[in-house]
Structures are given as structure tokens and as C-alpha cells.
């Protein structure tokens, strides 16, 4: 008689979502097992006498229960069919729009992948344009860069991330948003906002909400990177947002403590740095032989800004190429996005800017730091020299220019023009409220008014800030007329 052979294991003990099995003689880490009621588990580690399995489904497991090894390993069916959809880390749709068609071709990719080595990578030379002035001009991000988004609660981090995704419309960039252990309601809101802004078509949302089993939440960023690699290998640029890795670290701590791993600093296991570094190093710009695309990663971490030297944030700062620091205090006074420029860094982005943007950025940064010093002195003096007054006024104007409400975008050339405009005679006698009133008018004029449009079109060819200022000085009569 023909027989079917399968590997099985029997439950020795179980602790919450963690179970130990006896049997499964040739099982490997990341294999899947399933019990008779369909509860799946994922092999996390092996010892000489037992197999440690993390349950992915919320089912009751009792000692002696039989688990069969599944033919497939821990992976996801990647494909274009995922675009515009929200899925859980195992690829099951969670947006209520039905199951995926079985006829569509899908490649099953394992979630655990080694990050490509140095030989597969390329120098980051292309700018990742967000169409957000403060980022593109002052803290630029490169395609393939890992930029940490750090900030306290209610500082507008998610709004900024949504803007970044929405502004990737028509750029060909695929956006993958991994929502790690967030409430179900916030995941729904995110889907709705992206759909309302027609940004869902180029996005994939991977979400494991806070009420799902911890091992499933733990897998969310891995799924995000696996899908990102799928698109990157097709030569596409991918943006991966991991929101947030603080939750991820807490979930891993829960799993590790349950598995009797020795707790280290703040009770996190010793390999938490490895876990996160292993993830974010999957980002980068890759050579043509390796697909040619790029994966830009924006890991997020929420923290208390009175002390950002805690374990996980400092780990993440160490393994990323810079960070954007969001402050709720700035958000409360109306700065959007509420990024603290003086404490934000981009270690790679500067090399991707064109010469003009780079020079302009240095000049603006210099002016801002100069103004900061002068502001302290100005508090003790009633009358300030003209030079000082000018610097302080320019600082105010810059602050007004970099203010950008949610769900709006400013093209790169206009960003440079607006920032250069501060150094022109046209703005010399203008105050902050002028920009508040006319910023929108100016942006539109530089995109539509024929004489100004010429300047906008020539911005990318300019080599110095002075050249741009000269062009803008020439357009002074037109600008004055527009702003009457």
C-alpha cells in the first residue's frame, strides 16, 4: 500500500505563544508547522532535544498535541498583485477587499534573507525627493539611505510619513508601510488617508495590530523588507517605512523573556541590536547585476525627548545614516513638519544634492546657526545693528518657507527659488506676514507666469546661489506686481 510520509512533533510544553516540540528530526529554523486545528507555528530555534516554535495563530495548544511540518517555509507570495492592498505579515489581505486571485503569478520569498554584501551595493548618488522643503533642501535623503524618524508623541511623524508616501505618486517609487503593533483603528485611518489621496496604488501596507500574536507582529518588518527586495530586484526604487521599531523591540523582548533568554540592558535580549541592524542593512542602492533598484528605509521610533539616550533609540541612531528629530513643542506652535533642524542629521543625503541645492543648504544652515547665537545676545540688547536684525529677520522668513501643511508638495526647483528669494532685494523689506500671505501666490507664479517659469526651468542648470539670486533680482518688477 502506498503511504504518505510526514515529519511530526509532539508538544512537550507550552507557554503562551511559545511551544516546545519533540520530534521533527530534520526540521530547520524558519520551517512552518501546523496542528490539526490549523494553528501554524514557526520554528524559531533548535536544541538537541526540543524544537522551539512561535505560534502565529491564536489557538489553544496542549501538551501531547501533534504538529505536522508544512512543505512551505516562512515566506510571502510577492507580486504586483499586492500593490494597493493591506496585508498581514503572512500575506493575508486585511483590507476587506477579498482574497487574492490564485491565477495571478506570485513568487514565494522567504522572510529571512541575508542583506546583500558590499559588492552588491552602489554609491548613493540620487536624491530621494519628498517634495517637502525642509527635507529636500536642508536635510536631504538619498535613494538607498536609512534615515531614522525619531520624536515624541503627537509630533506629526505619521503625517510626515503619509505626506512622503503621497508625494511619491507618479515617481515610480513603491512605498511599503509596515505598521508594527499599532491599534487597528490607526491602520484603518492610514488606509483611508492613502486611498483618499490616491496614493494606495503605489503602496503596500503590512500591518500586525497590537491585538495579534506577538510572533506575527515581530515578522512585520521582515515581510516589508522581503517585499521591498522583490521590487528592488526589478530595478524599482522602494521606500520602506517601519512604524515603529520601539514596538518591535518590545515585542522581541516579550518573546525572548518568555523563551528564557537572559535579559540585558532595560531587559532587552542581547541580540536586539543584531535583530534591528540585520533588518535595516537590507536597505541600500544596488548594482544593476543585483537588480539595480534601491531601498530607502525610514525606521520610526517614538521616545521621550527629555532623554533620547535610551537603549533602543541610540542603537537605531548607530545603525542608520542620520535622523530627523520631530518635536511636539514645534508641532504645537504650528511648524509643519515639526522637525528640529539643529538636531537632525543626514549623513548621506548631502552628496546626492545638486551643486546649487548643496550651496544653498549650507548657506541657510549657516544663517540659522548664526541667528540662533544672535538670538541669545539680542535678548540683552534693546537696539541691534542692522546686520543682526537682517539675519534674525531672514531666519524668520526661512522658518515661514519651510512650513508646509500636510498633504501639500513643493517641487524641488521652487524650494530653491523660495529659499534664495530671502537673499534678494525683493525680500529685504518684507516681513514674515508677507510670506504667510503670498507664499502660495509666489509658488504658483513661478510655475505659471512665463517670465518666472523660465527661471524655474533654469534652476537645475545653475552652478551657484549668486546666479540664482541674480536671476531673481531681475524678476523683481514682476514679483512686485504679482504681490500687490
Amino acid at each position: 500500500m502506498k503511504q504518505t510520509q510526514q515529519e511530526v512533533g509532539y508538544v512537550i510544553s507550552s507557554k503562551g505563544f511559545l511551544i516546545y516540540l519533540d520530534g521533527l528530526p530534520t526540521v530547520k529554523v524558519n520551517d512552518l508547522v501546523e496542528n490539526e486545528s490549523g494553528g501554524r507555528g514557526w520554528v524559531n530555534s533548535l536544541s538537541s532535544d526540543k524544537v522551539e516554535v512561535l505560534m502565529l495563530d491564536d489557538v489553544k495548544v496542549t501538551p501531547g498535541q501533534l504538529f505536522k511540518r508544512l512543505p512551505e517555509r516562512l515566506g510571502i507570495a510577492a507580486g504586483d498583485h499586492l500593490l494597493g492592498r493591506a496585508i498581514n505579515p503572512l500575506g493575508v489581505p486585511i483590507d476587506g477587499r477579498g482574497l487574492f486571485s490564485r491565477t495571478k503569478k506570485a513568487t514565494v520569498l522567504e522572510l529571512e534573507q541575508e542583506a546583500p554584501g558590499i559588492g552588491a551595493r552602489q554609491f548613493i548618488t540620487e536624491q530621494f525627493t519628498t517634495n517637502i522643503t525642509i527635507i529636500d533642501s536642508l536635510i536631504p535623503i538619498g535613494k538607498g539611505q536609512r534615515e531614522l524618524i525619531v520624536g515624541d508623541a503627537h509630533a506629526g511623524k505619521t503625517a510626515f510619513l503619509i505626506d512622503t508616501i503621497v508625494n511619491q505618486k507618479n515617481t515610480g517609487t513603491i512605498c511599503i508601510y509596515a505598521s508594527v503593533g499599532k491599534p487597528v483603528a490607526s491602520v484603518r485611518d492610514l488606509i483611508d488617508v492613502l486611498r483618499a489621496n490616491k496614493a494606495l496604488a503605489h503602496s503596500i501596507i503590512i500591518a500586525a495590530s497590537s491585538n495579534e500574536p506577538a510572533p506575527l507582529i515581530f515578522l512585520t518588518p521582515k515581510t516589508a523588507f522581503t517585499l521591498a527586495e522583490y521590487f528592488q530586484k526589478q530595478g524599482l526604487d522602494v521606500l520602506v517605512i517601519l512604524d515603529d521599531l520601539g514596538n518591535h523591540a518590545k515585542i522581541y523582548r516579550e518573546i525572548s523573556l518568555l523563551g528564557d533568554k537572559s535579559p540585558g540592558r532595560e531587559s532587552y535580549p542581547g541580540d536586539i541590536f543584531y535583530q534591528h541592524a540585520h533588518l535595516v542593512e537590507r536597505a541600500g542602492k544596488f548594482k544593476k547585476e543585483y537588480g539595480g533598484g534601491s531601498i530607502t528605509a525610514l525606521p520610526v521610533i517614538e521616545l521621550n525627548l527629555t532623554d533620547f539616550t535610551t537603549f533602543i533609540p541610540t542603537n537605531l541612531m548607530a545603525m542608520t545614516d542620520g535622523h530627523l528629530l520631530f518635536r511636539s513643542s514645534l508641532h504645537n506652535i504650528g511648524q509643519r513638519p515639526a522637525i528640529d533642524i539643529s538636531l537632525s542629521v543626514s549623513r548621506v543625503g548631502r552628496q546626492t544634492q545638486n551643486k546649487l541645492s548643496s550651496l544653498l543648504s549650507s548657506r541657510i544652515r549657516g544663517l540659522l546657526s548664526q541667528a540662533e547665537e544672535l538670538e541669545t545676545i539680542s535678548r540683552f540688547s534693546s537696539e541691534l545693528p542692522f546686520e543682526t536684525q537682517l539675519i534674525l529677520k531672514r531666519k524668520e522668513l526661512i522658518e515661514e518657507i519651510i512650513k508646509q501643511p500636510s498633504l501639500t508638495y513643493v517641487v524641488k526647483e521652487i524650494q530653491s527659488i523660495l529659499l534664495a528669494l530671502i537673499f534678494t532685494g525683493f525680500m529685504a523689506d518684507k516681513e514674515r506676514h508677507f510670506l504667510e500671505k503670498y507664499k502660495g501666490v509666489l509658488i504658483e507664479a513661478f510655475l505659471k507666469e512665463p517670465s518666472l517659469l523660465k527661471i524655474t526651468q533654469s534652476v537645475s542648470k545653475l552652478e551657484s546661489v549668486e546666479e540664482l539670486i541674480k536671476l531673481l533680482e531681475g524678476a523683481r518688477p514682476v514679483l512686485t506686481k504679482i504681490c500687490q
Partner: protein, 160 residues
């Protein structure tokens, strides 16, 4: 000596469940004999009493007040590490059937001394075996699943 004791017990004890049960009654019987007790003796069934009396006198002489606990501890540890063949069948097997299976196994295999029966009516008929983490399904259910498409094709012939 422990192996000798275990071999004597497993001579006609084939299932893990029965082995554990017989060890328990043997232990309580021996403790009562060696240390005595005011408590009334456990009520044994006829089969249990017959089995105890079937054990030779030399077997009981191996136990004394100094080693009885150690022997049972060692045997229990040994049993826990012994490979057990799990037999999944679709019906509740009676003692006679279990005895026959046990005798057959003893004749055919040297590495398998213990087995356990698990009832799974979903198998329909036949059996499935599990040993050392390998599960082999010889049941009718597996056969039907294997020939699913052929069976469906055959049924289609009768559809109008």
C-alpha cells in the same frame, strides 16, 4: 538490574499507558509490602491482580527498603526516554487486539519495545504510524486523498 526488571515488566506489557499504570500498581504494592501501612490496600481489578501474581518470586526479591525508590525513579526516567511507536487507528482496540499488535511488533522489530494507541476516527480505516518524528499514513483517508481526482472523475460518470 533495572533493565532486567524493565524487561520482565515489558514482556507482556506493550503500551506506554499500560506500562505506566502497571508500574504504579507495582510500586504501591511493593511499598505496602516493604514498609507496611495502616491504610487499606488499593482495590485491584482481576487483571491487575493476575498480572501482579504472574510476576516470579525472584522478581520481587530484587526490591528492598533501600533500593525500591531508586529503582522506580531510574525506570521512570528510562521510560521517558524510550522511543514509543504511536499507532493511530480509527476504532477503540480491545485488549486482545492490543496484545496481538504487541506480539507482532516484538517479533518484527527489536528497536521498538513500546507503542501507544491513539484513536482518530477521521482515518476511516487502516492506520497511521508515528515513530521518531516521522509520520506515515497507511489509512484509507490518505488513500482517498491521494486518489481524490481519480475518484471525483469516476463519480462524474454517474452524474446526469
Amino acid at each position: 538490574m533495572n533493565d532486567e526488571i524493565l524487561n520482565t515488566i515489558t514482556k507482556d506489557t506493550f503500551t506506554l499507558t499500560l506500562l505506566k499504570h502497571r508500574l504504579r500498581i507495582l510500586k504501591s504494592n511493593l511499598l505496602k509490602k516493604i514498609f507496611g501501612s495502616e491504610a487499606p490496600a488499593e482495590q485491584l481489578s482481576v487483571q491487575e491482580a493476575n498480572w501482579l501474581s504472574s510476576l516470579p518470586a525472584s522478581f520481587y526479591q530484587k526490591f528492598n527498603k533501600d533500593n525500591v525508590y531508586q529503582i522506580f525513579d531510574a525506570i521512570e526516567t528510562k521510560i521517558n526516554s524510550m522511543p514509543v511507536l504511536l499507532i493511530y487507528i480509527a476504532f477503540e482496540a480491545d485488549d486482545q487486539t492490543i496484545y496481538q499488535i504487541g506480539m507482532n511488533l516484538k517479533k518484527s522489530f527489536t528497536s521498538i519495545t513500546l507503542f501507544d494507541i491513539k484513536v482518530n476516527p477521521a482515518l476511516i480505516a487502516g492506520c497511521a504510524l508515528s515513530f521518531g518524528g516521522i509520520y506515515r499514513d497507511y489509512s484509507l483517508k490518505a488513500k482517498i486523498e491521494d486518489k481524490k481526482s481519480e475518484i471525483l472523475e469516476s463519480f462524474k460518470k454517474f452524474l446526469r
